[in-house]
Amino acid sequence: MMTVLAASAGSAAAGGTATHAAGGVTSLVQSVDWLAIAPPTLAAVFALIVLVADLFLSERRKPLLGWISVLGLVLAGLSLLPLLKGDRTTFCLTARPEVCSYEADHFALVVQLLVLGGALLTALLSVNPIKDEKLPGGEFWFLLLSSAAGAALLPASRDLATLVIALEVASLPAFALVGIRRGDRLSSEAALKFFLSSVTATAVMLLGVSFVYAATGSMHLAQVAEALTQPDPRLDVLAKAGVALTLVGFAFKTAAAPFHFWVPDTYVGAPLPVAAYLSVVGKAVGFSGLIVVTVKAFPSYSDVWGPVLAVLAALTMTVGNVAALRQRPDRAHSAVRLLAWSSVGQAGYLLVPIASAAYSDDAAHAIGSTVAYALMYAAVNLGAFAVAALVARTHPGNRIADYRGLYAAHPVYALALGFFLLCLAGLPPGIIGLFAKVTVFSAAVDAGLAWLAVVMAVNVVIALYYYLQWTAVLFRAPEGASEGAPEGEVRPARPRIPAPLATAVGLTALVGIALSGAPQLVLRFASGALL
């Protein structure tokens, strides 16, 4: 529901500015290319279907909702196919048809694929926890689909109002998702923490957006960019402050330091699939928003946001990796905590090419590195969460120590997790992880940010340490194995692995392996023009 509102609000905002620009002479009615907006719209429509269907389905039939959602996400993903040429635009100003609020260009399509794929995998991960933990299914699926719709809208939005609304549509359901475990203190606390800090960031960002609007007189990114090339000198400070404050909101979503502190508690408090969702789709929202505003709206202020993002990137990766390094394996929820902190570290790498875009003439090339990296990260991080969800079924504590002997119990899943972790670390056999890092490095070196490359190199080594340590745990003999009858002890604690979970692990592993064999599949984004 919210999303439909968002879409209409976006168009309303666009329409509003259209009136301004056109001075009321030309037609005020914008033509809508429904095919172009199909991906977010389908997700939103299915969200409504699920919400309504929830009212009419008997308790026994509730699992059907999950499959409807999966279907919706698959359809939304398939609706990307007719758009592959990447030349569709809609909600354009009637006076200036080249200025549009929605552009389904290649960048938008790739990020939409990432978002919808991430949401699909999250859905697969959620099917069983909803049943087992007695979570309210109807609400859960509605919220997940709404958030996905917002996240899919964001990379294609090309005016500040739509951006803000898309960001909120993506985030507001996420707060509820984090707190969906009723009566769980940890879950509610996590949701509250997430909500408060997020709202603060949004408020700051709105302030920034209003400054930018005040300085440029337009909401459309293309016009903002134009206006910022020769700003009114009296408004220069205002514009600069606006640019900086706008970035804050997206930096928060990306969980860039110092806006990262909500991450570990939120991830631990949220149901595991939701944490997986936040770590991938939440980040995609943040970085795609950052890319859109920096490259599309503020290219002439690259001397402001370039250094800021470079410092943020260095800070983020260092904070994330050092904190991940300090996780003790026997602490409760240490596995999720480690994934949470490592995702902060990975966010730092994602920021590096965006920062480099400020320094290089070829911004599209640098942005492509972020997109390529994000695709790799999404696949393997979701895979890691999927295996974590699997382990959480037998070990609710989800300590890293619980992964000991996973190889003995589930060799295939242990190998998969080992592969995902090595991909995240960037070591062979995780070839795609290695080359994704190489593209990020090369973006930094290309832009002359040698210091950032060196900081990142140090961080990569730090990260290698904890990823490798976790990998090593997987292959150690299970605890108590030496004290006789290891088989007898393992067998009873080996329940059947639910099919959706197995599918999720299988899919992510397949993607990871396919990408490792043919890294060109995603790395071509790093060489081609995306924007």
């Binding site: 390529a372 190489v438 190199a457 090593a472 071509r524």
Partner: protein, 559 residues
């Protein structure tokens, strides 16, 4: 031989071990089940490494020895156009010997493990890791693309880490971490250097980069300096160069026998090979600037390694033999680095020769010390030698003889493999390339010469303490130290043994533990190394004839 056949052979040599590693994890197919799963998988390891060895020998046979400077058996396929990474394989006179050495050592290790599986978890993973390790090392020597080189360079880390961590001895976890952190830190820096070269020149192709008027001309002096520094650090950690060597003794001490053999025999070579293949031809200006420093570190490493060994060999120092050989590797690799730093054909040929020689000799020595540990349960020199010496000549004459042979070869006796490489490296330092400070290099050469003396000293001390001594005293001490092991003894007791009966109250009180002499499978694993050591010593031209034209080509800036 036909070009296509050569191509397939080279690609097969790199890919086969990987497929073998995957196959090792799967259950054995019917008909190949063997006596039990463990035996089947170990046999699988021997088969795969054997096939790889055969393929690499065929490759060597088909190699056009008349033109070793030319890259042969080349395959060049585009892999990741976005980054300009190509699957470019090829061998010349520099990489061919290393390729064969790797295949040989891995095969011998697999064979040795078939009979003597190190204590630890299942052999399945062990075989798979050895095969991945082999693939990574072979790929390092066969690829001609900077990024693939890096990939292969990294590929060996994980298997080696697990080999040490899972099948190692005391302190293995600490040693495995130290190994992987040192090398990772080095290789990440190296990656930056490689990227710098690739981005500034526009290609990652080593052959194109090595030619003078090719993309290399795009590299300014500063870029070359930074690149050599970054790449050099990564390679120097691996080589290892003093003072970045400190992971090596720990790793060697903790690693299982075959791990040590492969680490010393093959993995260290990847570092020095990188210097010859990448740093020298691609960034000669940068290398020229850093050569004196490299040579200085190398010379210090030679002296430091041998002094450390001398200290370990002393009576009462509680020196560990494995650690001692690891330190001796630091010294030997110092010679290799010195040869490279001289930047002359003589020095580099010497370095490449010393590379191979060190692989053969140190591989043999680690096998022997591993076997010694199996026999005695310790490699602590003091506990081995006791008061008068371990008397291996008396108790296990063939074993003692081979150990002495290895030690003598290692100290560089003329007529054995160790001699030529180190002599040529010193010759290179005697007359370094134009523009390098001759007095400095003369000093380094003198230091290296001093190092050879010290090397001779400690190796002779080791031979004296391990191989010689009174058999009777040694047996007495062995009996006193491990009375319960006397039960398994099968050797005629010495007359003095009865006096220790009081300290050995077990049933069989008059027998000292027997030290079994070389077993047949040990002969099989060790003879090729010993034979090649003699062969390379007597006929160095076989190797130098291969490497020299290729070295001239690299130094001359290619065609």
């Amino acid at each position: 031989m036909n070009h296509t056949v050569m191509q397939i052979l080279l690609a097969g040599v790199v890919v086969l071990p990987l497929i073998g590693a995957l196959a090792a994890l799967l259950p054995a197919p019917p008909g190949l089940k063997g006596r039990n799963p463990d035996q089947a998988v170990l046999r699988h390891g021997v088969t795969v490494t054997g096939v790889v060895l055969a393929a690499s020998i065929a490759l060597a046979a088909g190699f056009d020895h008349g033109d070793p400077a030319r890259m042969q058996a080349q395959t060049d396929i585009s892999w990741i156009p976005a980054l300009g990474i190509r699957i470019h394989l090829g061998i010349d006179g520099i990489s061919l010997p290393l390729l064969v050495l790797t295949a040989l050592l891995t095969f011998l290790c697999a064979l040795y493990s078939y009979f003597k599986m190190p204590a630890g978890p299942s052999p399945k993973a062990f075989v798979a890791l050895i095969l991945v390790l082999e693939s990574g090392t072979l790929a390092t020597f066969a690829v001609l693309d900077l990024m693939l080189f890096f990939l292969a360079f990294e590929m060996v880390l994980i298997p080696m880490y697990f080999l040490i961590n899972r099948w190692g001895g005391e302190n293995r976890q600490y040693a495995a971490w130290k190994f992987i952190l040192y090398t990772l830190l080095g290789s990440v820096v190296m990656l930056l250097g490689l990227l710098l070269i690739g981005l500034k020149s526009g290609t990652f192709d080593m052959v194109a980069l090595a030619t003078d008027n090719g993309p290399k001309s795009q590299l300014s002096h500063t870029v070359q300096l930074v690149a050599v520094l970054a790449i050099g650090v990564g390679l120097a950690v691996k080589a290892p160069m003093w003072p970045l060597h400190s992971w090596l003794p720990d790793a060697h001490t903790a690693a299982p026998t075959v791990g040590s053999v492969l680490l010393a025999g093959v993995l260290l070579k990847m570092g020095t090979y990188g210097f010859v293949r990448i740093a020298l031809p691609i960034a000669p200006d940068g290398m020229h600037t850093f050569a004196p420093y490299l040579a200085a570190f190398a010379a210090v490493g030679i002296v430091y390694g041998s002094l450390a060994c001398l200290a370990l060999a002393r009576r009462g120092a509680k020196g560990d033999l494995k650690r001692l050989i690891a330190y001796s590797s630091v010294g030997h690799m110092g010679f290799v680095l010195l040869g490279i730093a001289s930047m002359t054909p003589t020095g580099i040929n010497g370095a490449l020769f010393a590379n191979i020689a060190h692989g053969l000799i140190t591989g043999l020595l680690f096998f022997l010390v591993g076997a010694l540990k199996d026999r005695y349960g310790t490699t602590d020199l003091d506990r081995l030698a006791g008061r008068t010496g371990a008397a291996l000549y008396g108790r296990a004459p063939r074993f003692g003889g081979l150990l002495a042979f290895g030690a003598i070869a290692s100290l560089g006796l003329p007529g054995l493999a160790g001699f030529w490489g180190e002599m040529l490296a010193m010759f290179g330092a005697f007359k370094p390339a134009d523009g390098l400070s001759r007095p400095a290099f003369l000093t380094f050469m003198v230091l290296a010469g001093l190092g050879t003396l010290l090397t001779a000293a400690y190796l002779l001390v080791v031979v004296r303490r391990v191989c010689m001594g009174s058999k009777e005293t040694a047996e007495q001490e062995a009996l006193a130290a491990t009375p319960e092991e006397g039960a398994t003894a099968g050797v005629t007791p010495g007359p003095a043994a009865s006096t220790t009966a009081a300290t050995a109250p077990t049933a069989v009180k008059e027998k000292a533990p027997a030290i079994p002499d070389i077993a047949p499978y040990e002969y099989v694993a060790w003879t090729p190394l010993a034979a090649l050591t003699v062969l390379a010593g007597l006929w160095p031209a076989a190797l130098l004839g291969l490497s020299d034209p290729a070295v001239q080509n690299l130094l001359g800036g290619g065609s």
